[in-house]
């Protein structure tokens, strides 16, 4: 089971990084989203996968309960990643509107061509 998840995490990372290498902002965002999901799966896997009941407080301490901690971590990570993705998506739209391009190589407003300063005083 762990092996399958490890391979899956690898594939997700590869796909995410491939998309992030693209100059198109929307593709980069999709890459980030997949990257984030890869991390979630990674956290899940590092918590050791057990086919056991979900942990519920009670007297049955002898259960083989699934590790609850990674699930709490993933929940946090998902919430954060989702809000960031939403923000960046809106940012992408606004940037496309105001800069007329979604190619980050062409977004050069903040990094203008250098102007020659006066050489003498």
């Amino acid at each position: 089971m762990e092996t399958i998840f490890c391979v899956l995490v690898g594939i997700f990372f590869a796909a995410g990084i491939y998309l992030m290498l693209s100059p198109r902002f929307v593709r980069i965002l999709l890459g980030i989203s997949i990257f984030g999901n890869a991390v979630n799966l990674l956290i899940f896997t590092t918590g050791r996968l057990t086919e056991a009941a979900p942990p519920v407080l009670g007297s049955a301490a002898a259960w083989r309960a699934a590790n609850p901690l990674p699930q709490a971590l993933i929940l946090t990570a998902i919430v954060i990643a989702f809000s960031f993705f939403a923000f960046l998506l809106v940012l992408a739209y606004r940037a496309y509107e105001s800069l007329d391009t979604d190619d980050v190589d062409e977004m050069r407003l903040a990094e203008p061509k250098p102007v020659r300063p006066p050489l003498g005083y």
């Binding site: 990674l42 990643a81 940037a95 105001s98 977004m107 903040a110 250098p114």
Partner: protein, 536 residues
């Protein structure tokens, strides 16, 4: 009215944990929970986090009343700073302080733990936030105040303070995201085209950096089975658990990216000069330093001897960053972009201190961080002030600011020389400490470190001198521009200048706690004792 209140209170008491505890069956929680009351001074630990967080919420609720926002923020940050001063005193007396969230004992619950290093940085952060506010009052328009400028401002301080004081590695990630989202909000506020461009680069690269950090956290959890920093340190220090190189490499990669060290610094000069100047100043002062702090905390303290593999790499990166950042600043004509490159160069100097791997090196890096928080904030603010006086600032268009406002010109020179490390300003002592530490270390890194520190200081002096001569001293061409009113804006800058000169004259104010903090990083036994010793 009164009966309803009484009813409400009764309801609250019925729901309160103590009532529930009394009613529950005999589950023994003594192993997992703190049963006694939290000592009063431990509450100081969360003051610098909770106050701004609460304030941000309250201000958001009151966003339709822009006239009270600045005053309320000032009040909150003043209280926060007072809390941070008290915290420093408490840490100096008691050693590291821990507070267990929800009374869950470590390693189960999240703990907020502060040692001398964290307390010092929390104080500096709160102080810079307070001083920056004096400038922000004149730098914001009503629109941005209504969009929640001050809420974001407080959230940024919350996030940075939280990062400096958490004792849980996943919680550190969460605080990273808190100040990251606050910085996004501040970065795009105003919505000019150039801000969109800067925000795209800043947003994407910082998000990737924190995600890489999260990958490393996940892998570290897989290896150690715990998230509590003190617990991780004890697990990693035992001989049979060797963390794979990849985990440490991921941590270094993530933090070096956040700290904007060469070759991962390109996002910083692309974005830091785009927002309103007080925002840029806060970013320049605080955000990159969190990356350096996290390197100190995780690679140095948590990994201990296992992390020493990475120190030469960090040192080499530091030398390259310090020199190339200053060279990059020399190539700029826009003063804001120039200052952004100086931030990068300063990060390099701090990284050299980490790379030395000695207690003196860490102490130098910590003192440099404190100096850099003040100096970089001040440098950006004074550039903003001059921009206000003359319209725009570029080396290609001489501004003649010296004749318009001599005070601003003098302040620029003070802050610039402080950044370059000239006495009697605050930058001199940490650089001296770093050079001494380099020479005491011996080997190649010693020469490289000393050369890096000296060369970056030398280049920064040229950068500042050139900018000053061209923009401030050289008479303006064309008609005389009217001088804007800058009296209110200058006040926080004069305060910063006083701090910078004060730290240059009485450096022990920072050096003493920094050395204590460095000792705590190398030998965190009292930290671990504070966090894990409560079970008995």
């Amino acid at each position: 009215m009164v009966p309803r209140f009484a009813f409400l209170l009764a309801g609250l008491f019925a729901l309160s944990p103590s009532a529930a505890l009394a009613a529950s069956d005999a589950v023994d929680k003594a192993d997992a929970m703190l049963t006694g009351a939290t000592p009063l001074f431990a509450w100081l630990v969360v003051v610098p986090i909770v106050l701004p967080l609460l304030g941000a919420g309250v201000l958001l609720a009151l966003r339709s009343k822009p006239q009270i926002q600045a005053g309320a923020t000032l009040f909150i940050l003043a209280l926060t700073t007072l809390g941070a001063i008290g915290l420093n005193a408490a840490v100096a007396i008691n050693g590291p302080i821990m507070m267990a969230m929800g009374n869950w004992l470590p390693p189960f619950g999240i703990v907020v733990t502060i040692d001398q290093l964290g307390a010092l940085l929390v104080l500096v952060t709160s102080l810079v936030g307070l001083i920056g506010l004096g400038y922000a009052r004149f730098d914001t328009d009503e629109d941005s105040v209504q969009f929640g400028f001050y809420s974001f401002y407080l959230l940024l301080i919350t996030g940075v303070n939280g990062s400096f004081s958490t004792g849980d590695i996943f919680n550190l990630y969460v605080w990273f995201e808190v100040f990251l989202i606050a910085s996004f909000g501040l970065l795009i506020m105003g919505g000019r085209r150039i801000q969109m461009d800067g925000a795209v680069k800043y947003g994407v690269l910082n998000l990737i950096a924190t995600t890489i950090f999260l990958i490393a956290v996940a892998a570290l959890y897989g290896v150690t089975g715990t998230l509590n920093m003190a617990d991780i340190r004890t697990v990693l220090a035992s001989a049979d658990v060797a963390p794979p190189m990849a985990i440490g490499a991921l941590f270094v990669l993530g933090f070096v990216m956040k700290a904007a060290a060469f070759p991962l610094h390109f996002w910083l000069p692309a974005s830091y000069h785009t927002p309103r100047i007080v925002v840029a100043a806060l970013f320049a002062g605080l955000l990159t330093k969190v990356g350096v702090y996290a390197l100190l905390r995780i690679v140095v303290m948590l990994f201990g001897t296992a992390g020493s593999v990475f120190l030469p790499l960090i040192g080499v990166l530091g030398v390259l960053t310090a020199v190339l950042g200053a060279l990059g600043a020399l190539a700029q004509t826009d003063l804001r972009r120039m200052a952004a490159f100086l931030v990068v160069s300063g990060i390099g100097v701090a990284l050299i201190g980490i790379g030395l791997g000695s207690e003196a090196g860490y102490a130098g890096a910590i003192v440099y961080m404190v100096h850099s928080i003040f100096a970089m904030t001040a440098l950006f603010l004074v550039i903003g002030l001059c921009e206000r006086l003359t319209g725009s600032l570029s080396l290609a268009m001489p501004g003649g600011i010296y004749t318009v406002n001599g005070l601003a010109a003098a302040l620029f020179l003070i802050f610039g020389f402080a950044a370059a490390g000239l006495p009697p300003f605050s930058g001199f002592w940490p650089k001296l400490m770093l050079i001494q530490a380099s020479l005491a270390t011996g080997g190649t890194m010693a020469i490289a470190g000393a050369v890096g520190v000296i060369l970056s200081g030398f280049l920064t002096t040229i950068v500042i001198g050139r900018a000053w001569a061209l923009t401030f001293l050289k008479p303006a061409e064309g008609p005389e521009r009217p001088a804007g009113d800058a009296a209110g804006l200058s006040a926080p800058l004069v305060l910063l200048a006083a701090i910078i000169i004060g730290l240059g004259i009485v450096p022990m104010l920072v050096i003493a706690p920094a050395e204590e903090g460095a000792r705590g990083l190398i030998d965190p036994s009292s930290y671990i004792e504070t966090v894990l010793g409560q079970e008995g």
